[in-house]
């Protein structure tokens, strides 16, 4: 499950910000490690909402520093839904 989410995020990050899928590992931070700026991060979130059929409120996005944070958030949100 979390591997599927990780792979799905890698596809989104490649599409939105040109990130090499091989670089997308749980400990990486979006902004400093993957060079995803705050505007592109919004695109990542909206694409992830659609791909994984979850809601990620803007207030929660700030807590998603690393890829791992996003994977767990999406996993929890998916279970809750």
């Amino acid at each position: 499950m979390s591997q599927d989410i990780l792979a799905g995020l890698a596809v989104i990050l490649e599409e939105v910000a040109g990130v090499d899928p091989a670089d997308v590992t749980p400990e990486k931070t979006f902004i400093d490690d993957l060079d995803v700026d705050s505007l592109s991060m919004v695109e990542v979130v909206v694409a992830a909402e659609e791909k994984f059929t979850v809601k990620i409120p803007d207030d929660d996005v700030k807590s998603l520093k690393t890829v791992g944070d996003a994977v767990s958030y999406i996993q929890r949100a998916g279970v809750a839904a």
Partner: protein, 408 residues
């Protein structure tokens, strides 16, 4: 006490136009008298009264990721700026002495329209977070400023079809005033879309020669019936002469002066007496410390509208006097269509090349000069010229008049 203003030279040129993907191919197209106008076959244009435009000859060569957060006008400006910067020798410049003046007449209008569709069809959550930086009229200036690290100021004068020339005039002022040593200056426009075309058509400003696109843009011709909307970008690297000399830069020409005025006549119609335009021409000559008799070539604004071309001819005679009979006038838009906010920048490039190569490209489609237009418009064959000054005019809806003066 007066001091001689700093001389400003042009050390780099870049262009992405309906005639080619760079300056060399565009200039070759102008000399060959090629038309960049074609029939647009996409579905969205079918309901409009105008089916012709002058799109880019070559799509902006940018990577997918680089392009997706830039409006088309920004993409074009970036590509032209990279060419100009490389042409200038990719100089090492103190970033705090580097400015960018890149104008657009309309800004990111295709982004605005397509994102409005997204908003209506898919809702606010799906609107791109890049939409504001993509549609803002200063977006292209910022894109170029970021790409080259310009820290002395990023500017985007907005004056409709005079914007590109006004950006270059501003660059001149900035260097003369000592606020920067190098300015990346020019214009860009990407407005070939249903709403702008419908709007210009409603103003009766566009040619309706849908069946013969390549003859539609015919400045100064008796049978002209409006302009053809084009798209593209052109960028100049302006540099303080001493800065260029210190690094041994190759110099294309001198931006000797610029004149700016405004009509205060009508929001869109030209003043038939051409008073504002004539004031801009006189101001450019004063700024360049040139006499009317120094002028050997004029790249006219000449969009191919019945009233605009006529008013410009009146203005030129008023400002230059009888010497206008000895000036080789040309209308680049006969081949490129009207690039709106990029037009003045493209025509600045053409003016500099005409002086440097000592040849004026002929105006296309000038089958019969309008009887009321008393200008020596170069047509049929390109014309060799000597050395002297060239002027490039740009006028815009809103009553903007800008004239640039170049020497070699």
């Amino acid at each position: 006490m007066t001091t001689t203003p700093r001389q400003v030279v042009v050390t780099g040129l870049g262009a992405l136009t309906p005639l080619g993907g760079d300056v060399a191919s565009t200039w070759e197209g102008l000399l060959a008298g090629r038309s960049g106008v074609r029939r647009i076959t996409e579905e969205w244009i079918q309901e409009l009264p105008v089916h012709i435009a002058a799109p880019l000859a070559v799509e902006p060569p940018l990577g997918r990721v680089e392009a997706r957060t830039l409006d088309r006008s920004q993409q074009m400006a970036l590509v032209a700026a990279r060419e100009a910067w490389a042409d200038a020798g990719s100089p090492e410049v103190d970033q705090e002495r580097l400015a960018a003046c890149v104008a657009s007449g309309i800004g990111g209008v295709t982004t605005l329209l397509s994102q409005h569709d997204v908003l209506r069809e898919k809702g606010a959550r799906r609107v791109s977070p890049h939409v504001v930086p993509m549609l803002m009229p200063n977006g292209p200036a910022s894109t170029v400023g970021l790409a080259f690290g310009a820290k002395a100021g990023v500017h985007a004068p907005v004056s409709a079809c005079a914007s590109g020339s006004e950006a270059i005039a501003l660059g001149l002022d900035i260097i003369r005033a000592g606020r920067a040593d190098v300015v990346i200056a020019g214009g860009t426009e990407a407005a070939i879309a249903a709403l702008p075309i419908a709007g210009f058509a409603q103003m009766q400003a566009l040619s309706r020669r849908n069946d013969t696109p390549q003859t539609a843009s015919r400045p100064f011709d008796k049978a002209r019936d409006g302009f053809v909307l084009g798209e593209g970008a052109a960028i100049l690297v302006l540099e303080a002469a001493e800065h260029a000399a210190a690094r041994g830069a190759r110099v294309h020409g001198v931006l000797a002066g610029a004149g700016i005025s405004s009509d205060a006549y009508h929001i869109a119609a030209p003043d038939p007496a051409g008073a504002g335009a004539a004031r801009a021409v006189r101001a450019a000559l004063r700024s360049a410390e040139l006499a009317p008799t120094d002028v050997i070539h004029i790249n006219a604004h000449a969009t191919s509208t019945p009233s605009g071309d006529l008013a410009e001819a009146v203005a030129l005679r008023s400002a230059i006097g009888s010497h206008i009979d000895s000036v080789a006038v040309t209308a680049t838009k006969s081949m490129t269509g009207h690039l709106l906010g990029a037009a003045g920048a493209l025509e600045a490039v053409a003016s500099i090349l005409a002086l440097r190569e000592r040849i004026v490209p002929a105006t296309r489609n000038l089958d019969a000069l309008d009887d009321e237009i008393a200008l020596d418009v170069v047509s049929i064959d390109n014309r060799k010229i000597g050395t002297g000054a060239a002027l490039s005019n740009s006028f815009g809806f809103g009553g903007h008049d800008v004239c640039l003066a170049f020497t070699i």
